[in-house]
């Protein structure tokens, strides 16, 4: 590196080859470059390859179960950027397990939880999964939230023949002997919602928006196929922004220019808040624009502020405001344990199902053995689910309904529509 053209401080007799500032500038340039590369790499790793899991050779693994106690693992991010989203799942799973224990446990065994922190870091998830399965020999694990963390632990669960209950709605294209997916896969969440927009709102032109990683991109791909091939409508534009993006002015102007019948939005995380705040500030509201999202639950609304989204729609399988006895009891128990102000989103409810589905399968199998539990699972019904009724499909996903909720200013949804039970289809033909 030459220094002749750099500003040099005037110094009398003291020979300092490089001024501190010059050197820090260079350093900072390197730093900025590194941060960008790091950021991009982080983004890429979120979009891991979709892999159809092979039936891995089942390694025999003893399970930590005594005469009175069985140990399970909980693997979520309690710290780091994902803690925002995963806290609700942690709470819901612990609530379910506490309730099961209070009612006598499973097959006479009380459930003991070992909680590990994935710290929003995917390799850490894999490492902790290994620890839970090999060292603690847990009977099952409730955990993961992002697809990236699930992809990271999947090989571990298959190799060690573990059992994972995964709560998040996700992009599909995956099925493993060792995983049960208690949230919806993409087609369940997308197709019925688009049909509703088409039928009830007469939407023909759609504007697709997403954060730039695997879930929004795969979901929008399915949405586009459905819009073009089934609804015979058009996609006027499809736009992606990096995770964490906070300036949506240009996007909003594009929406104004294209004037779509409906905006279909899959923006996630902190970006959500900026997007809807700016949309509102730019005068795009429910009065003049139909918008349906599949990425805003009560949890996100807490940050966005209901007043910024009033009248927009969300497609989910669960809303806190669902009016049925199961849900009333669930919401009451949740608030009693975690405070009156807590809100419950779609994933939180799906996480709550995990321990109950596992209990039902263990009782049907009469054993904690993973192979037996997996074999007993398909066909298991849960009539006590807060979302109403779910049934485990042979592909390890759940039959469930889709609902459309309309945002209210207080951060809750009014449920406007409820579909029939939808069969899970993680590898949808004609949609890839």
């Amino acid at each position: 590196m030459t220094t002749h053209d750099r500003p040099q401080p005037f110094h009398a007799g003291i020979d300092i080859p490089l001024s501190r500032r010059t050197w820090t500038v260079g350093l900072a340039q390197a730093l900025v470059a590194t941060l960008f590369v790091g950021g991009l790499a982080g983004g890429c790793s979120k979009s891991g390859e979709t892999l159809e899991s092979s039936a891995a050779a089942a390694t025999p693994r003893g399970i930590a179960v005594t005469d009175t106690e069985v140990t399970v693992g909980q693997l979520h991010s309690a710290t780091g950027t994902m803690a925002i989203s995963e806290t609700g799942s942690i709470q819901a799973e612990q609530l379910a397990i506490a309730q099961i224990n209070a009612a006598g446990g499973i097959l006479g065994h009380q459930i003991k939880i070992i909680q590990e922190d994935g710290a929003s870091d995917w390799p850490t998830f894999a490492e902790k999964a290994q620890k839970l399965l090999v060292n603690d020999r847990v009977a099952s694990v409730f955990g993961c939230w992002t697809s990236a963390s699930r992809k990271a632990v999947l090989p571990v669960f298959e190799k060690e023949n573990g059992l994972l209950y995964y709560p998040t709605f996700y992009e599909g294209l995956e099925q493993s002997k060792n995983v049960f997916y208690t949230g919806q896969e993409a087609t369940q969440q997308i197709i019925a919602g688009l049909d509703w927009l088409h039928k009830e709102k007469g939407a023909k032109n759609f504007f697709l928006i997403g954060s730039d990683y695997i879930w929004p991109r795969t979901s929008n791909k399915i949405a586009r196929k459905h819009i073009e091939n089934v609804l015979k409508g058009t996609v006027v534009d499809e736009q992606y922004y990096p995770l964490g993006h906070t300036q949506f002015g240009s996007l909003i102007n594009k929406i104004k220019l294209k004037k779509p019948d409906a905006v279909y939005a899959i923006v996630v995380g902190g970006s959500n808040v900026s997007f809807y705040k700016q949309l509102n500030a730019a005068g795009v509201t429910a009065e003049n624009q139909t918008l349906l999202t599949i990425s805003v639950t009560e949890d996100e609304l807490l940050g966005i502020g209901g007043e910024n989204m009033v009248g927009f729609y969300a497609a989910m399988k669960y809303f806190q405001s669902l009016d049925n006895p199961n849900n009333t009891a669930f919401v009451e128990a949740f608030k009693a344990k975690y405070g009156e102000a807590s809100v419950i989103g779609d994933v939180t409810q799906a996480a709550y199902l995990g321990p109950w589905l596992w209990k039902a399968a263990v009782e049907k199998a009469g054993s904690f053995d993973v192979d037996k539990v997996v074999a007993a699972s398909p066909g298991i019904e849960l009539t006590t689910a807060p979302e109403g009724y779910v049934k485990i499909h042979e592909n390890h996903h759940l039959w469930s309904k889709l609902r459309i909720g309309q945002v209210k200013a207080d951060g809750q949804f009014t449920v406007l529509y409820e579909s029939e039970l939808i069969e899970p289809d993680p590898f949808p033909e004609g949609y890839q």
């Binding site: 005037f10 806290t87 736009q239 922004y241 906070t246 102007n253």
Partner: protein, 303 residues
Amino acid sequence: MNSDLFSILVMQSFNGLSNFCVLLLMALGLAIIFGQMGIINMAHGEFLTIGAYTTYVMSVVSQTWAPWLLDAYFLLAIILAFAIAAGIGLLVERLMVRHLYERPLDSLLATWGLSLIMQQVFRSTFGAREVSPTLPGWLMGSVRPTDMIDIPINGLVVMGLTVVLTAAVLLALFRTRWGIEVRATTQNRVMAGAAGIDTRRVDRLTFALGCGLAGIAGAAFTTIGSTGPTSGGLYIVDTFLVVVFGGAESLIGTIASAFAIAQAQATTEFFMTGSTAKVLTLLTVILILMARPEGLFTVKVRK
């Protein structure tokens, strides 16, 4: 249709200007700390977060105990955000940064560590979930000069704030005794000391001021985004980018650089997808920095 296009053009220009102001507001504090003092403050984003949380707390406080304050709390929050961020900045300078003036690499690591500590403190205090202050009514909505044009009011407020702050910083640097001392210290610390300037005191004030400005930026950003323990981190890369691209020692360079990056971003964003636009902007910046490693503007110093 033509009037449509015209309206979009107007709104898009405003959008570019508004992005410019956001970038500049972010970078102003860092331009002082990094540009003038040469400290790589990786915790700069967290000082932004302090400002944002101050606004949030003020919003909750005024909602709970002083509803009559709701319309005005935001202005109060800005002042408080400055005071608190500057105060903590002063403390950090005292305890940590001043020991690292001659060791830029160590200052990088130490402030990075500080940023992690601060994030965890935010998380323990305010929870992991993102929060938003309730904004006073006058900050919401948009100005509509014609039927088609919507100019967001929060954008206007951020713009106004940026103009005032930038002017204040420029004035302070070039028209006050403190400014002369800072510039003298920047150009030659040993000589400045010899001329009777208390360079340690200058460092302290400069660092605190930079942190305070970050606090104000954080308060302003609550109008456009949310606040979480790691929100500040989102801005740190862009902030360094603006300062380095502009020429670290030049405040005018920072302004020009913020303008260039924001306009390039806004224009490309309109014609292609957001991610591609960002990549294109960054590539351009990298190319220019390869040709001009000191950034757009450099201070002429006798060699």
